[in-house]
Assembly symmetry: C2
Homo-oligomer: 233 residues x 2
Amino acid sequence: MPNRPSAKKIKELLAPLLTSERRRRIKYVLERRTKYVTLVLDDLYHQHNMSAVVRSCEAFGIQDVHVIELENRFVPTHGVSMGAQQWISIYRYSSISDCINVLKENGYRILAADPPEKALETKQKTSVSIDDLDIKEGRVAIVLGKELDGLDPRLRNQCDSVVYIPMKGFTESLNVSVTAALFLYQLRKKIDELPTQLWRLKDEEIEELEALWYVKSLKRGEQILNELLERRG
Amino acid sequence: MPNRPSAKKIKELLAPLLTSERRRRIKYVLERRTKYVTLVLDDLYHQHNMSAVVRSCEAFGIQDVHVIELENRFVPTHGVSMGAQQWISIYRYSSISDCINVLKENGYRILAADPPEKALETKQKTSVSIDDLDIKEGRVAIVLGKELDGLDPRLRNQCDSVVYIPMKGFTESLNVSVTAALFLYQLRKKIDELPTQLWRLKDEEIEELEALWYVKSLKRGEQILNELLERRG
């Protein structure tokens, strides 16, 4: 087996097999992709919710999702997610601290999606509504708790503060996939008001994803790529 | 059995059985309730989605939901909706035209939640993004299609125009309960910028709901109310 070729090489080999419309679409989507905002999903239980969250991330151009798998494995079903999981990056952790460490190393402010009264359990003991959240200061990770139980207190302790969705009824919390989408949509609007260089993927990240998406855009793309590489010797 | 008593009478009888905190909460929620915006759900299939939609409506103070039941009965499950259905009004129709007529009689502009390219199939052949939608002109009903199939073309034909959620990925549609919540949240923000008298419930609507919610706030509320009425003779 030859070594894994460069992204540039993969693109060169596969480009002739894709329509120009498809290549333009990939470029268009990549130019809007971002890691400036990310989600952390704490041990979700319902596949239906996992799938809907993945679909919303993809739709709003959020590239990374961090998944803590303590009791439940994160397996979005293809039907509900409409295949969205192949276009985003899912990072899996078997402990809370592993996940938090990675987020911190990557410069994320970590916000618990919780009602405002939970603010006291966070590091800064503050809360802000999603409408008032200012993301100009830097990258933001929104942490969502599991269905029914809500956020694990050990995870909330590691969050900087609380961010909440203002509500006006008796209902005190929303379905987790609904919550995720509301955050993503509002955050996406805030991102689009920032200078592009703050949130756009790096050129090399774009090239890597572009090559990956060329492969995924073809039926049996991996196999075709390997055949082309062998033919070249 | 005595005739159904007035809302005022019910409130008088039950108020002493509720905490002042509960009565204040009911008042607070009612002051934020509105029929200015409503949802139309076209024959949803998944109970999980029905429940999540109902919960979002309640959370954002949207009082009315209109449900067209052609093949599927609208039965939100208590668990996922967190009991939200008892605080909103669900209107059921067995035909598209019955539902449309009721909306028209009540002065709603009827908008199909659809991708912009479906605009040509609506009456005005126009589309607008949810961010640009202006609701100052009057009441708005958002029509959501069923999972997978999307909106019934016979229903889309009856809509004035298309309203869509701008997306940035490969995904072309979102989960229906996610879509509903995104519309409701954005519309709620727009409502809150309008003068209160445009969207607040009428005094008599508030009084009727207040009485109903007093009953629902008590365990076996109906039974207690009947006993109190009989005692009064």
